[in-house]
């Protein structure tokens, strides 16, 4: 069930009304109902994979108890490995098995051995597996590091793992935030619900208007990169930057907004990364739940930045490569992670990786300074460059794309593959960037206007935008569902 589908628009109000009308006074029933709704939500894709979620839930629920009750560190570690091996095993099988087999066959062929890739399997990637396995693992890890006491309530834990607003594409929650809310009785709050609805509207706008309307252009340019000049290819990858941002941050906004309707606050996942002044700031603002996951559970245990510079650089390389690999079983994602590591390391070595942690661009003014504009443009360009690898089907395609930019360095007016006016999209993106800049201080309040009238006009225009750019014929699934 997609957030931007009719099914969801029927499902959500029905679940919302039943939840608050019938179960508002009983926590246990609230959680059982949310759990059933979440399984229904997920089962509408493929009910068979519900067993995987259930298995992951059961294993980590039990492992959590065992770790907590273990006396010795070695015993605790052993139980932690059970969780890690199980979850990584699930991921490894469903997501990476074919990749490893193919890569092995390719590797062997370098030495002249011809192996047939007959070991590869026809495996369907279960939606959201990368997200919920990381979430359950974080639970066991937090207990292992003694940051968390395990819950004895299986229903609450299962609800924490499968909470439908964030089940399929995050934000990847920590038990300390989400589980504690699930084990606490939720009461209806009008302001929280209206905030949620606003986020849902804004998320839908980003998905339907920004991401989906650009998608046919990006698809066309990347599919036919060999026949386009540099200007078109640069346009394509730039538009992809907007597409992937609109798509994933739109999804996250809808997820956070939907959770609010049920009295749950999820962590922010996007904090206007397009206005980042360096790559380090970008990673503090882009897919926050994943980057903090890697920071807490990989980077810091490896020593983080409290070790020698060389080891810190090694740690940075590890988290970016792993993060790239997390996105998909393809060398393109590893290359994408490697590029980000290369972009991050100089910032780290110059000691500028934490300077923008607590402020936003043009913090105390209406407009950014000239220096800030240059910084933003540079960061955006570098991140956009890396997306050539993120979007390409293969490493060969990514290098082919870059080679085409170099060899056919010319300008040509690009025409929309369906014949639509390109100017519409440029105007749209211009307005979108200006609006996002206007609201850059608070990612959870997209309609923060004092005047009720202005707020109403904003709602109307956002919905009008959805009508103006709606297209029933395009694939409306979310990009991050494939991860």
């Amino acid at each position: 069930m997609l957030f931007n589908s009719l099914d969801f628009f029927i499902f959500l109000p029905v679940v919302f009304i039943i939840y608050w009308f019938f179960f508002s006074k009983h926590l246990k029933l609230q959680n059982i109902f949310i759990l059933v709704a979440s399984y229904l939500f997920y089962g509408m894709w493929d009910w068979r994979f519900l067993f995987l979620i259930l298995a992951s839930t059961t294993i980590d629920y039990m492992v959590g108890q065992y770790i907590y009750n273990s006396d010795s560190t070695s015993q605790r570690k052993r139980w932690l490995w059970v969780s890690v091996i199980f979850n990584i095993g699930l991921l490894g099988f469903f997501k990476y098995y074919n990749f490893f087999v193919d890569s092995w066959v390719d590797f062997i062929s370098i030495f002249g051995y011809e192996l047939k890739s007959s070991w590869t399997l026809q495996i369907i990637l279960p939606v959201g597996i990368s997200f919920y396995t990381f979430q359950t693992m974080s639970y066991s890890l937090d207990i292992y590091y003694k940051r968390l006491t395990p819950t004895k309530d299986f229903i609450s834990f299962a609800t924490f793992v499968s909470f439908f607003p964030q089940l399929v594409a995050g934000p990847i929650e920590r038990a300390s935030n989400l589980l504690s809310q699930i084990t606490t009785k939720r009461t209806f709050k009008y302001s929280q619900c209206t905030e949620g609805l606003k986020l849902i509207i804004w998320g839908l706008f980003k998905k339907v208007v920004i991401a989906d309307s650009i998608a046919p252009i990006v698809d066309d340019i990347f599919a036919n990169y060999g026949s386009y000049p540099a200007s078109t290819l640069i346009l394509g990858v730039t538009l992809f930057s907007f597409q992937v941002y609109g798509d994933f941050s739109g999804y996250s906004d809808i997820a956070i907004g939907t959770a609010k309707l049920f009295g749950i606050e999820l962590m922010s996942n996007f904090k206007f990364p397009s206005f980042s002044r360096n790559v380090a700031e970008y990673w503090q603002r882009w897919h926050v739940s994943l980057s903090t996951w890697f920071r807490h559970y990989v980077y810091i245990p490896l020593g983080g930045s409290r070790v020698s510079k060389l080891k810190s650089v090694r740690n940075i390389c590890i988290i970016f490569l792993v993060s790239g690999f997390w996105h998909g079983a393809n060398w393109t994602f590893i290359a994408w992670g490697a590029i980000h590591a290369l972009l991050y390391i100089p910032v780290f070595l110059m000691g500028r990786n934490r300077i923008y942690m607590n402020n936003v661009v043009a913090e105390n003014s209406w407009f950014p300074s000239f220096r800030e504009i240059l910084q933003i443009l540079l960061t955006f360009s570098l991140v956009t460059f890396s997306r050539v690898f993120f979007r390409s089907e293969s490493i060969t395609d990514a290098f082919g794309f870059l080679k085409q930019i170099y060899t056919n360095f010319s300008f040509e007016i690009y025409e929309h593959p369906l014949g639509y006016r390109m100017i519409d999209y440029f105007i749209l993106l211009g307005i979108f960037v200006l609006y996002e800049f206007r609201i850059r201080r608070d990612e959870r309040s997209p309609f923060k206007f004092k005047s009720k009238l202005v707020r109403f006009v904003a709602y109307t225009l956002v919905i009008l935008g959805m009508l103006l750019f709606f297209d029933d014929n395009i694939d409306r699934s979310f990009i991050y569902f494939q991860f």
Binding site: L197, R421, Y459, T460, F470
Partner: protein, 322 residues
């Protein structure tokens, strides 16, 4: 909770009102003229209406129509006389031409090419060959005064029936309920951009939930060919049945068709029985520009110009004289 429901309801209502207003101000939705069934049981537009036809979410195609006194989209009134040379173009939405400004129609383009003739465009969306011949027969006096009649025909669509009957399904669009719904420009706009398709599909699914699903059968190539041949023979029989009933003056009547999508059986039949036809396929094939609109398969300005060119060349060759 009550406050949330009430306030949400109020907001939804106000947003809908605002959207209705915006759709009207920017004319995003198309105007829909009224259909009528006249005293001769001919379905056409109610005379003397004006409006704009809009296609695409963002008004990508915007054109003005004018329904004349006879109930057809044309800048001309149809008054055939003995001392002028008139040509009638009869056909479906392609001839009707809501996708173009009425003052830049195919007829107008032909008139520019041959100034001494007047072109009367009897186009109406959905007209098949039965509709066309019934119209010519119902207004026999008027059409007898017209010097030449060109009938647009698409073999796969326009010969599915061998007898004329009023199509009630089309007229149902004029039901009081539909007319009321059409008053909301927002609703018309949403329908035209396909935003109402998912709920409609869902409704259809729910209505048919108890009906057993029709299993798709694999049909082999021979079977497909057999069905195709059978269909073609039926269409040809329909053609004969209609011309037998209404008559077909081979000296005055000409068919307008695209041989690329017309069956060889039908083309041979026309050739062997001295039916005149204008085949515009060559003109379209030779064009290096698109001939249809982005949003639908109707002819764009280039397509219309090519059609006008094909007809003009034919008429010049014919040398119609009074």
């Amino acid at each position: 909770m009550k406050k949330l429901i009430l306030k949400s309801g109020l907001y939804v209502f106000l947003v809908l009102i605002s959207l209705e207003l915006l759709v009207r101000v920017f004319h995003l939705g198309k105007d829909t003229p009224t259909r009528i069934l006249d005293e001769h049981k001919v379905e056409k537009w109610m005379p003397n209406q004006n409006g704009f036809s809009v296609t695409g979410n963002r008004r990508q195609n915007f054109s003005e129509y004018h329904i004349n006194n006879s109930g057809y989209n044309s800048y001309r009134e149809f008054n055939p006389t003995k001392n002028k040379i008139e040509v009638a173009l009869v056909g479906d939405s392609f001839i009707e031409g809501f996708h173009q400004n009425y003052y830049n129609s195919i007829g107008k383009k032909i008139e520019k090419s041959i100034p001494e003739i007047e072109v009367y465009e009897y186009g109406y969306a959905g007209y098949d060959f039965a509709d066309q011949l019934h119209l010519v027969n119902a207004y026999k006096e008027q059409f007898d005064a017209i010097d030449h009649i060109i009938l647009g025909i698409k073999f796969s669509n326009d010969l599915t029936r061998g007898e004329y009957e009023v199509i009630m399904g089309r007229l149902a669009l004029e039901s009081p309920m539909n007319r009321l719904l059409k008053k909301s420009k927002l609703l018309v706009y949403c329908k035209s951009i396909g935003i109402l398709d998912p709920p409609q599909r869902l409704m259809y699914k729910l209505i048919n939930i108890l009906k057993p699903a029709i299993k798709k059968q694999d049909v082999n190539k021979e079977e497909v060919l057999r069905i195709k041949n059978k269909k073609e023979k039926k269409y040809l029989a329909n053609f004969n049945s209609l011309i037998e009933k209404y008559g077909f003056d081979k000296n005055r009547f000409t068919l307008l068709l695209d041989s690329r999508i017309t069956s060889n059986l039908f083309l041979s039949y026309l050739d062997n029985n001295d039916f005149n036809y204008i085949d515009f396929s060559k003109h379209f094939e030779e064009s290096d520009q698109a001939t249809t609109l982005i949003y639908d398969r109707h002819w764009n300005n280039n397509g219309r110009a090519l059609i006008a060119k094909a007809i003009s060349e034919y008429l010049k060759e014919l040398e119609i004289k009074k």
